[in-house]
């Protein structure tokens, strides 16, 4: 295991949340260190998205605690999460399709003039700057985002998370709708952000991608945490066994993945 001198960036301790009697997340503990990528894996309905939505403020957990830099915090709304520099790229992208890229990027955090009016020109300039860095092919700044391709829409969602100096980044299947080239761009971006010292939660279905991009992998099944492993210490099959059978590697001595 890596030795961490500083406290974890994020600690999710004993988080539980249920919907109408179904325990979507059941006493789960996960932590995240600066400059680390933690993959969250599991079948559909395992509770990955629900867990990180407690961190992003979209859901309010029933019990448990969230600590940021060791301090207990109370995240009730997405606005609270943003105040702690937690940015989220949702699986659905969460874009207002009828607005252009700049309006989406700055939604809820518009740049205003001294008179208090939204400053569309400055926001477009800023959007052009960040897009030139993230996705130089992106040129369509005036159309509503509904007119953009899947990859371009993804770029807008990613730009929104990166622009506001996130310290904690949550990515819910960021490459699900992307082609191979765009997927590589996201992978490069994750590496770059990691080097800048961000902590990243990455939800993904692709075990190989998690092996390649993440430092640790937390596997969930039926709302509970199967285990959290160092990706370099286990094989792809081990992770698959955790996802499918809920077996933690090394628990049964003598068991060897075939």
């Amino acid at each position: 295991m890596v030795n961490h001198p500083e406290p974890p960036l994020v600690e999710l301790n004993d988080i539980s949340i249920s919907f109408g009697g179904i325990k979507a997340v059941d006493h789960v503990c996960v932590d995240l260190y600066p400059g680390e990528v933690v993959g969250l894996l599991g079948h559909n309905g395992a509770g990955k998205s629900t867990l990180i939505k407690c961190l992003s403020g979209a859901y309010q957990m029933d019990s448990g605690e969230i600590r940021i830099n060791g301090d207990k915090v109370n995240i009730q709304t997405p606005r609270d999460a943003r105040a702690y520099n937690i940015e989220t790229i949702y699986q659905t992208l969460a874009l207002a399709d009828n607005l252009d890229a700049a309006s989406n990027l700055f939604l809820g955090r518009e740049i205003t003039t001294t008179a208090g009016f939204v400053d569309d020109v400055t926001m477009e300039v800023e959007t052009r700057k960040i897009m030139a860095r993230l996705n130089p092919n992106f040129q369509n700044f005036t159309s509503p985002v509904s007119a953009l391709s899947g990859g371009q829409r993804q770029s807008v969602a990613i730009a929104r998370a990166v622009y506001f100096n996130a310290r904690i980044l949550i990515m819910d299947e960021p490459t699900a709708a992307l082609g191979p080239q765009e997927t590589r761009m996201v992978a490069d971006l994750i590496q770059e952000l990691k080097c800048q010292g961000l902590g990243i939660f990455l939800i993904d279905h692709d075990v190989h991608q998690v092996k390649a991009l993440c430092d640790r992998a937390a596997v969930m099944k039926n709302g509970t945490l199967v285990g959290c492993v160092d990706v370099d210490a286990v094989s792809t099959d081990d992770i698959l066994a955790m996802i499918i059978a809920g077996k933690k590697p090394g628990k049964k001595p003598g068991h060897v993945a075939v």
């Binding site: 979209a58 997405p78 989220t88 659905t92 607005l99 309006s103 939604l107 009016f117």
Partner: protein, 430 residues
């Protein structure tokens, strides 16, 4: 030779519109309006396109158009407000009761505080009623259709209750000015002055926006296109003022006005109407609402909510409170319309505002507001209201029976929305 060829290419065909960056839907609506006017003008042997008729048309449009600007926000946020007609009646009756029965006893008959208090009361009452509906919709999550359908019945009943069904008349003299008529206008000089200022301001705004875009290195329209646009805008403003200033005040009203000022009138002076005060109110509301829609965070959130309510919530925006604000704004505008409508009639009976909710919704929808939310413009709704009023007035002046008028307006509504759907599909805007 090359530059000339380029100019020729620019000027050819439909690329003119593209270079001017004019909204095709706006052009379509103005085109429809012009065609309707021309048809009625021919059918009435030139009695439709007269300063007098256009003046009346502008006054008749004001009340519905003011509410339609608010309905744009309501519909853009994927709600509906069926209560505005009843609310208009309730507010109109209450402030009429106030200025006929209560305020004269306090201040004395004809005191100048009466119209101010009555107007503020109307706006405040509308804002409160609207906010209450918005709270039920936003926080108790009862669908807007049901809440405002309830409001529709509640206000109509409450309206009757205010005076046990008695008609309230006549209203305060100053209050009545907000309804138009021979006295309720800016007059010739002030109309020219304001029209001139508005034209200059419009041109300056266009120039300023161009300068800012150039400053940031964005692409701008060619100078000639910008020039045409500025000239057209100024031309429409000046033209409108000119038409309003060409409608002479009739002899009877002339004598009444002069007598009120203690003067004798023997036909030697002729005044023209100028822009009617309710139209001035409509213009101010339209400008304010346009700024609100396109230049403020509130407006941005209204459209974002219409486009994707979930995403807006995830962006940290309190969409529940936003709903309350949108309905409160709708209510306040209904209050303003109640002032215009009651002042124009100089009386409020229990029928005031009947079916107005449907006219308002139809105006917004004809103006390109999508019931699925997210799309709609303030100017579109105002033009939509103008088109509807033109149809109704035009058919009345041609002598079409009232039932047939309803049938025609209903068909036009469906036709307009169908054209809008086809337009959206063709231009790729969902």
């Amino acid at each position: 030779m090359v530059p000339r060829l380029k100019i020729f290419q620019c000027v050819s065909g439909r690329s003119i519109f593209r270079t001017l960056e004019l909204d095709l839907r706006l052009l379509g609506m103005i085109g429809a309006f012009v065609v309707i006017c021309l048809v009625f003008n021919i059918a009435t042997d030139g009695r439709f396109l007269t300063p007098r008729n256009l003046f009346n048309l502008s006054v008749q449009t004001a009340s519905v158009a003011v509410m339609a600007t608010g309905m744009v926000f309501v519909i853009v946020t994927r709600h509906i407000d069926l209560s505005v007609g009843s609310m208009l009646g309730f507010i109109g009756m209450t402030v009429a009761f106030l200025q006929v029965q209560i305020l004269p006893d306090i201040f004395g008959f004809g005191h100048s505080a009466i119209w101010i208090i009555a107007t503020l009361a109307a706006i405040l009452m509308g804002a409160c009623l609207g906010a209450a509906q918005g709270w039920i919709i936003g926080y108790l999550t009862v669908p807007a259709f049901i809440v405002t359908l309830g409001g529709f019945l509640v206000y109509r009943g409450a309206m009757w209750w205010v005076t046990k069904g008695q008609t309230q008349a006549p209203l305060d003299d100053r209050f009545r000015l907000m309804g138009g008529g021979a006295e309720g206008t800016l007059g010739e000089t002030l109309s020219w002055g304001l029209g001139g200022c508005a034209a200059v301001a419009a041109v300056l705004l266009i120039l300023n926006s161009r300068r800012r875009k150039i400053g940031h290195g964005f692409k701008v329209k060619p100078v000639w296109a910008e020039g045409i646009l500025a000239a057209m805008t100024a031309g429409i403003i000046i033209g409108f003022v000119w038409i309003m200033n060409s409608y002479p005040v009739p002899d009877g009203a002339m004598r009444r006005i002069m007598t009120a000022q203690g003067l004798e009138w023997n036909g030697d002076i002729a005044w023209n109407h100028g822009v009617a005060i309710p139209v001035v109110i409509l213009i101010v509301v339209t400008i304010a609402m346009t700024i609100l829609a396109s230049r403020t965070r509130f407006g941005r959130y209204v459209y974002a909510t219409g486009g994707n309510p979930e995403a807006t919530k995830l962006s940290g925006i309190n969409t529940r409170l936003l709903t309350v604000k949108v309905f409160a704004l709708m209510g306040a505008l209904t209050g303003i319309s109640a002032v215009i409508a009651s002042a124009r009639l100089n009386a409020v009976d229990v029928g005031l505002g009947t079916l107005d909710e449907l006219r308002v919704i139809a105006a917004a929808v004809i103006g390109g507001t999508a019931l699925s939310g997210g799309f709609g413009t303030i100017y579109g709704a105002v033009i939509g209201a103008l088109i509807m009023q033109t149809l109704i007035s035009g058919m009345a002046s041609v002598g079409v029976d009232a039932p047939l008028q309803s049938i025609a307006v209903g068909l036009v509504l469906v036709l307009a929305v169908w054209i809008d759907i086809v337009y959206r599909r063709k231009t790729g805007v969902s």
